[in-house]
Each structure stands twice: as structure tokens, then as C-alpha cells.
Symmetry: C2
Subunit: 433 residues, 2 copies
């Protein structure tokens, strides 16, 4: 005898109906039977919340209850999962998420800032309540990288995580190269195209990508998420000359995040780096994202896909919802929050070669002075080029052998003291990828 | 008051102690505390089985019970998960897997052949018993692609799945190009290096990769796994000339699997294809694997990593074990077996451009005859090159515009009838990636 019991639907409350929220509504509406078959139960939207109720979003919301206040939505008795797509590290997004956990809801969020700043507290609260927080959409858009790292590589001790995780920055850098345009022009283009956040420093200053790196580092190394320890350097100082010279030597410049556990602690960097043009990271064009995961058993895994946009981000949100519907309950950062260690921040722990670009005043012995400064700092030269010039200043490029950042900074101070620099030298790390 | 209850360990029985089995034992032994923290419970090996007990495998097996017979291992009362790493579509691997399911064990397997041929029956049996079969290691080694497709893209209708999933074939093809060596020489090299299966046709005939494609297709399209419907073509007919000429026109030759749902049914192909050299697939060198997943919301996701080897494959096996330990229970192919449709096999449904290489006898009007055959088959020419020659036969390359396979086959018959062919022409599909 078969008992015909319809499985209980999973009921969603969605806060935030921007591009991601409406993308999610579309998926739930268009793929209802497919989702139900895959999840083993129907997925239903019960209630939604956004700033302006009247706005036409191109999706039919008439079947859902409306809440003006996301906190009220989060506390509704008739939802199982609170889906937070508002953004912002504090304010309504944080209050609503805390309310949802306290009210016994699971949480799915695309909010990297919220988790990068309050992840440990939220994870602890969720676990105490027996609830989960999932955030696939917060890192690298549609790429299922949180899942790959937390679950797919769960048998590995992770040695390094790298990623190009801000599509806008990669768009700017690749567009500068392909069109031969200066940073300021392409920045303006990106702004006109609506690619930039309201505060563009979130993008070009590396903050947004830094949030994402901090989240991946917590999973990878079993440490409490620590965004403040991410060394941030934006792309604003990268010139078209740097991009050209790097290309000339077989490199591309990327805003690259690197998190690595060292003997001295956890190093987290989000900064412009040179990577070989033939590497998967070097070949990444435009707004696409890429994450590289390195584990002791698996070796190197590379994941590539759209890092933003309605469909890709909603796809990631939907994957989290499907996991909850299927009954998968993993701690927020892959281990119980109480097991996450407070890692010591290791600044500049990992040595690397550097690309140096400088303008030398056309004086006898100028280059010798530069070479002596490097030698005194214990830095040896791999390659050097001085270009012919008609200016008073001669462009000089140097690729060093592996050196510590401490030694590099000593050399940068030394350069200034030579009196032959026509402006501050540029130093960009070359990451072995 | 805290209740101190140690969580119940997950107990493994491992059948097969080759490179993957010993790799798994190493992970469980070396990372025990990390795995326990991530899984929320200890992971323990209870019993193992392999052909030769006495063999030194470089790992300490003394703490585990030994079974000469994997079927006996599968039925042991003291294991929760039967880990099948023996291989082979039938025989002991199949009997032991069936026994494990009947005895109420979850199953983790790296056995692509077993699932490609008996997946539907095994999935049905497992679901009836309330047990899961997981097979991350069966497809593309360490790349968490089964997880990405089944879970990470669970919100997507999948449109196409592609992959370079046999490292040996990709090694042979890229080595032919880089060293300028003929197929036979590199095949022998690969054989000497131990890269080839005991029956090399499993590799170079595309069978092994075809098994993997059939598994991905079942998940992607919600269809019953149907390896017999995979159109197989090996790499044995690819010459160094084809590789050079393809390169000359901006392409690489890959043994590429493509599964695609069309209006006429499910097309599954594993065959040599030309792909643009600048695409991620085109840039794949050596034994590395790559899988490309395309979904309606997420767009294109590319995954890259080691497709074989002890560590990577054991990493994938471990991920499945961790999911079971964490309580995740997804149906084998992502939907209940009863929901999987029996797809109509659509042979040659998707049109594509083709690369044609032929040797024309040096007769007046030879090229005109070839062009007429193409015209009569409704195939238009995108590019053509005739090379200067000192032989009696002139090498001619043609890249067609998009055409159906039916039209192409008509043209190939027509070519023979022209009487100007000095040997059979070669036709290789150009896949849009």
C-alpha cells in the first residue's frame, strides 16, 4: 500500500527585489516542477519585501504577501527560509537576518559585507538556534565555489585560495589593455555602464573582493572570518604603461585575492598582481570571475564563471535554497563556529618576485644607484630593461627574484634616497599561479 | 547543563586498495581531527578488502579488519558506507555494490563503468532501500563536477554539458602537437608511462570518457543514464597533420564530450572536435580535465583540475563520504530514479561547422568537383586552402559553415564518387564552446 503524502513545501520569504531578487522569483516560477523533482518537495515563495511596492519589476508578485519591513518579513510564522538580498553590512539586512535566526528560520544571503563583518557572530547565533546560514551567492556570483570549497574539497587541507572576484575591476584592467585607454577613461566608462557600486571604492578599492576573500579564507583554513586583516590595495594606481610593460614580459595584471596559511599565520591579500598570461587567471577577460583552490590531495582546482548579474547570482541563491530543501545542513563556514580559530594575521609572510617600474633622472650612475639599493636590501634582479627615451627621465623596468615584502619596502625607501627618481616607483607583486 | 554525547562515527568499508584506495586511507588517517570537525563526527575505516593481503601499499592497514571477498565486506554489520574502488562494470564490483545496498549501506564509488551501464537499476535499488549512491570520483577525478551539477546548479535548466574527461587522450593530443610526433609514437610513450588502461581502447576509443559523459547527461537532463546512446569516436585517426592544420587556423583538437537536449531528443557525443585555441578548452594542456556546464540562469561555468591520480580521485571519494557523514542524501542522479525519463537518442541533431582535410589527385578540375559535391549537399564553404605540393596528391583544407551531419555524410559519399580523392577525407566537427 502506498501512502500518498505530499511532501511539505519549503516556504521562502525574500527581502530585496533588485536584479538578484527578481531573478530568483523567475527561477522559482519558471522551474517549479523541475525544482520540486530535484528537491523532493515544492519550493514556494510566501512573502516578499522591498523598498517600493509599486515598482514594476517584470515579475508577477501578486500571489505573495508583501511586507514593507524586511524585519517583519524575517519574523513571519509562515516562512521556513529568510532570503536576504538587500545588501549592506549593517542596518536592515543585519537586523532582519538576526531576527530570522531568532525566529527559527534558515537564512540564505548574497550579502558578502554582512558576513565578512559579522559572520562569526551570525554563525554562532544560527548554530545555537539549530539553523543554517548559506551564502553561495556572496562569493563569485554564479560559480559554486563556496560549495566546492566547503563540501567538494572537504577531504583536503587547503593550502591556498586565490581569486579574481570583482568583475568590474577585471573589466577595467582588460579594457585598458585592449583599448589602450588610461584608467580614468575606463573608470568613467564603467561608471556610465552602471558597472560600479554607488561607492566605487567598494569595487576599485578592492573592498568588495576583499569581503569575498575573507569568507573563503574562513572556510579554507577553519578560522574566524577576519576582513580587517585583509591587506587591501585597489587598482587605481595601475597605469596603461604598467599593463603594457607587464604584457611585454608575458604577464597580465589582475586584482587578485590570495589567502594562504603560513608558518607565521594567515596571510590575506587583495591587490593588483602580475600573473603569467598563459595561466587560467592570466587569460581571464572582462567581467568573468575565477577562483583557484589548492588542496593537499586534490592539487589545483580552477572554477570560472559569471561573477555577477541577475541570473548567475540568483542561480547561486537557488542552489542554497535547494540544499536546505533537500535537508543539507552544514555549519556556515564548514565547521562549528566554536571550532573556528582566531588566526594570527601574517602580513607579508610569503616571499614573491616583484615587478618594479621607475623613471630615472638622466644622470650618470643613476642605474648603478638603483642596483646598489636592491643589492643592499638583499634583492637580486631577474630581468631589467631600460627603454630609450626623449624625456629627462628614463623608464626602467626590473623583475626581481623572490624577495620578502620587508626587503622590498626597504628598497623602496632606499630608491627615494638615491635622488635619481623622477617620481615614486611602482611595485607589483608577481604571484605564482 | 551540557550533555556530553560523542557523535556516532561514520564507519567505512573500503573495497579496492589501488592508488585511489590507498590515497583514501591516507586522507582518513592524516586528517582525522580536521575531518571530524568538518563532518561533525569521526570518520573511521573499519574493514578493507583487496586482492592481495600481503602486498605493501605504503599505508598501515593493521587496525582494519580484512576481507578477501568484497561481497563479504559489503555485507558486514559494522560498516555504514561501502566504498567501492575496484572498478569494472560487472563481476565483483557490481555484486558487492548490490549486496551493500541490500544490506542497508550507503555506497560511494569511483566506478564510472558500473554506473554508466547499471546506474538506473542501482539508483532504483538504493532509493527503495533508503540509501544513497554517490560517485563524484567517477567523473573528472578531483573536480567536484557531480556536486556542481547536481547541487550547485540545481536551480538551472541545463542546456549543454561538455568536457575533456580523459587525461590520457588529452596528453596524447597535446604531446603530438608540442613534440611534433605521430600518434603511434606518443601512444607508445603513454603506454610506457603507464598512462593507458589495460585495454587502451577504453582511453583512446573514448569509452571511459563516454561513461563519464553519460553520467553527467543523466543528472543534467533528468534522463536515465544511457551509455549505449553515446556516439563514440576515438582519437586513433587524428594525425599530426590535422593537429598542425587545425592550429594554423586557430583551433586545437580535443577528445570532447558533448551532451545536449535538442528538440529531437538527447544528443550525446564523445569524439575529436576542433575548439578555438583561445577558449578554456582549447588551452587545456596535458592530463588535466575540464568540464563546461551551461545553465539557463548561470550561463557558462568552467571547472578545471586533475582528472586522475591517487590524491585527486581520493579527494572526490572523501567529499562523498563527508556529505554522507553530514547527513546529505540526494538521489543518485539528482532526482528520484522513478522521475528520470527515458530520453530519445538524437543522433547528429545539432548542426555545426566542420573541418575537412583531403588529398586531391593532381587532375584538372579536381577542386571544382569537390566544391560541387559540397554545393549539392547544401554545404557552404567558410574557408579553403590548397597547399603547394610535390606529391601526386594536393592537400586541401576546408572549413565549412554550419551543416548537419546528414549533409556532411552525403558529401563524404559524394567525394568518393568524384574519383579525385587520394585516400579517404577526414572530417572533424568544430564545436562552439
Amino acid at each position: 500500500m502506498t501512502t500518498d503524502i505530499s511532501p511539505r513545501p519549503l516556504r521562502l520569504g525574500i527581502a530585496g527585489l533588485g536584479t538578484v531578487g527578481t531573478g530568483l522569483v523567475k527561477i522559482v516560477q519558471e522551474h517549479a516542477p523541475l525544482l520540486a523533482s530535484r528537491a523532493g518537495r515544492p519550493i514556494e515563495i510566501v512573502a516578499v519585501s522591498a523598498r517600493a511596492k509599486a515598482k514594476n519589476r517584470g515579475v508577477d508578485l501578486s500571489a505573495y504577501a508583501w511586507e514593507d519591513d524586511p524585519v517583519a518579513l524575517a519574523g513571519r510564522a509562515d516562512i521556513d527560509v529568510f532570503v536576504e538580498l538587500m545588501g549592506g553590512s549593517d542596518g536592515p539586512a543585519r537586523r532582519a537576518t538576526e531576527t530570522a535566526i531568532a525566529a527559527g528560520k534558515d537564512v540564505v544571503t548574497a550579502n558578502k559585507a554582512l558576513l565578512a563583518l559579522h559572520g562569526q557572530a551570525l554563525a554562532t547565533a544560527a548554530e545555537a538556534a539549530g539553523k543554517v546560514i548559506r551564502f553561495e551567492a556572496a562569493v563569485a556570483g554564479g560559480i559554486p565555489v563556496v560549495k566546492a570549497l566547503t563540501e567538494g574539497l572537504a577531504g583536503n587541507e587547503i593550502s591556498r585560495v586565490m581569486g579574481v572576484m570583482n568583475g568590474t575591476c577585471n573589466y577595467i584592467l582588460t579594457r585598458m589593455e585592449s583599448a589602450g585607454l588610461p584608467y580614468e577613461t575606463v573608470f568613467q566608462e564603467a561608471s556610465d555602464l552602471g558597472y560600479l557600486e554607488a561607492d566605487p571604492n567598494l569595487d576599485v578599492g578592492g573592498i568588495d573582493a576583499g569581503h569575498k576573500l575573507a569568507l573563503l579564507a574562513a572556510i579554507a583554513f577553519g578560522t574566524q572570518v577576519d576582513f580587517d586583516a585583509v591587506e587591501l590595495e585597489g587598482i587605481g594606481s595601475i597605469t596603461i604603461e604598467d599593463i603594457r610593460q607587464a604584457a611585454d614580459m608575458g604577464y597580465k595584471i589582475k586584482l587578485l585575492g590570495v589567502a594562504q596559511m603560513t608558518g607565521r599565520g594567515l596571510e590575506q591579500r587583495m591587490s593588483p598582481c602580475l600573473v603569467p598570461e598563459t595561466s587560467p587567471l592570466g587569460q581571464l577577460q572582462g567581467g568573468t570571475n575565477m577562483v583557484v583552490l589548492e588542496g593537499d590531495a586534490v592539487g589545483q582546482i580552477v572554477l570560472r564563471g559569471a561573477g555577477a548579474g541577475s541570473g548567475p547570482t540568483a542561480s547561486a541563491v537557488m542552489a542554497d535554497i535547494m540544499d536546505i530543501a533537500r535537508g543539507y545542513r552544514v555549519p556556515t563556514f564548514g565547521q562549528p563556529a566554536a571550532n573556528l580559530r582566531q588566526a594570527r594575521a601574517a602580513r607579508a609572510a610569503v616571499a614573491a618576485p616583484y615587478y618594479l617600474r621607475m623613471q630615472l633622472l638622466d644622470k650618470p650612475g643613476a642605474l648603478a644607484k638603483v642596483a646598489r639599493v636592491l643589492g643592499e636590501a638583499g634583492i637580486s634582479i631577474d630581468r631589467m630593461r631600460q627603454y630609450s627615451h626623449e624625456d629627462v627621465a628614463a623608464p626602467v623596468l626590473i623583475v626581481t627574484h623572490k624577495t620578502t615584502r620587508t626587503a622590498l619596502e626597504e628598497a623602496l625607501v632606499g630608491f627615494e634616497e638615491t635622488g635619481v627618481m623622477a617620481g615614486p616607483p611602482v611595485a607589483i607583486r608577481i604571484e605564482a599561479v
